[in-house]
Amino acid sequence: MALVMAVFSLYLMWKSAELPIGWIPGKGPGGGAFPFWLSLGMLACCVAIILRWIARASPPSRSTEPFMTPETFKWFLLVAGSLTAMIALIHVIGVYGAVPLFLIFYVRFLGRHSWTTAGALAICTPVATFFFFEIALKKTLPKGFTEPLFYPLYDIFL
């Protein structure tokens, strides 16, 4: 992780250096100075973390436990994967299509609850979301290609 972050710090330094990082007479520090020197600090921390890892001076470096057991990894993949799929689907079928699918997958297949529980949640959550966000807060949520289906609802409630 520290190695990845060290590379990321270098990238941040390079990116910050697109703006002046030194002193501009009359204007003070350049726009890139603040992030540049902080990224340098990040890099220094990463080097320290890597050195401590090599010297086995920190608790995680001495731990013999695996970073993730196969069981944990499986769960992590399922949960993070379904979340990613839901967010990707929001672009296509919108919140009101992706959220019920995610809830059914999680509650029915990961949680092994009954179809009734999964179905009830998959219906109630989007309905509550619609009334709270779209009607009360007037914040429209992404709907993908399902957008036209909501026009009659807007006519009724807004």
Partner: protein
Amino acid sequence: MEVFSLLVNGFFIAFEPLNLSLVIAGVVVGLFIGAMPGLGSVNGVAILLPMTFLVPPTSAVIFLAAIYYGAMYGGAISSIMLGIPGASTAVATTFDGRPLALKGMADKALVAAATASFVGGTISVVLFTLFALPMAEVALAFGPPETFALMVLAFSTFIGLGGDDIAKTLFSIFIGLVFSAVGLDIISGEPRLIFGGLTGFYHGINFLVLAIGIYGIGEMLWTIEVSRGDVLMSKATVSFRRIINCLKELRSSAKTMVLSSLLGYFVGILPAAGATPGSLMAYGVAKTMAKNPETFGKGNVDGVVAPEAANNAASTGSMLPMLTLGIPGSPTTAILLGGMVIWGLEPGPLVFVDHPDFVWGLIASLYVANVFALLINIGFIPAFIWVLKMPFTILAPIIFVLCVIGGYVPTQDMHDVWLMLIFGVVGYMMRKLDYPMAPAVLAIVLGPLAEPALRQSLIGSHGDVMIFFERPISGSIMAIAIILFALPLVKLVKARWKRAT
């Protein structure tokens, strides 16, 4: 007397029907969130902040502060009933709360926790009321160098008192500050750190995206990993007579309550310390001062009273620097501070001058929230126990959905939702490797305040950094910060020297 009249005005605001109902709703929501294993005030406030756009800023902050308060009360419920701390702030409550529950005295522990929380909350709100105005008046004289020195002090407390790996803590602070610099440069207006040329980065990285990512998604992934084992729920019989008896027995714990409240309040003011170390310290002090320290850990009521009084007092304490100096005293107040910026209020002492209704409405609502939290907590103990039985596989997806929608609403940009997912997953992995995450959240909130303060100071001094050390107030603050930065080094040298001799 000025404080008194301002407070009375504050009570008029707190008792407005909308605000009063928000206090009650916030307390109830907070109690439930606090009672859920793995979720604490910071998660609740981060996930629910985007839902407050419906009401004016004063009502919004009152609602979120009530959640903060409620969660402090609620954390004890799962600590006692399940033996799993509802939030990190209630870790110390499990030490004696759980043994009491296993002995069949769960009601005694729950009543003790609620009463101690009430005493801790009330004492700290009174202290808060007395300290707020003088502190804000001092802070009004602050210029950019003092503001920057304060930020340095806030970060130094993480190094000196945080107790985590120093390199990782510093890394967390730096990355938070760098992320806060994404977007348009505040002085030249030029775009900077626009990764991959994505237009979503032009509006900067909203602190909420990082906060919901880490405290919503990351925390849920963490909780799913650690809470898959079976938990044993204790039984609690609750009746009015038993509650009255428990309250009578609590008279002997009055001294512990008051002492722990004072300790918690002052520890809570420090940004890195907050409610968790405050409650652990209070537990330690109560045990040291007890006549029968050997009973601690086996079901001593004082072992429940001390951490609960302290964690509530600390939550109020952490609001003092937030309101008066614009520096949050805890991750939860960091999010509240970010909320103030979204609502269009400039954090810092000027809030007391420009928006007295906001400040005093909030302070008065803390008094009100305390009373309601106590009543609702004791009255609804059976309801909380019922909710604790709710399977995590139902709660988790609902929270994920709330996170995704909450991440989208402030900017209405899907770019932020993806960023939040990345922060959540990376945050979860970093947490597994012992990287502290709270400093990063604090840094992304403080970054937009720290950078202009630094640049304005340096422009004023023509690049001379001594400006931070030569002015009396900023010089003293910097001196304390340097001492805190050096503290771990001194400890290390001392330990080596001890080993050598």
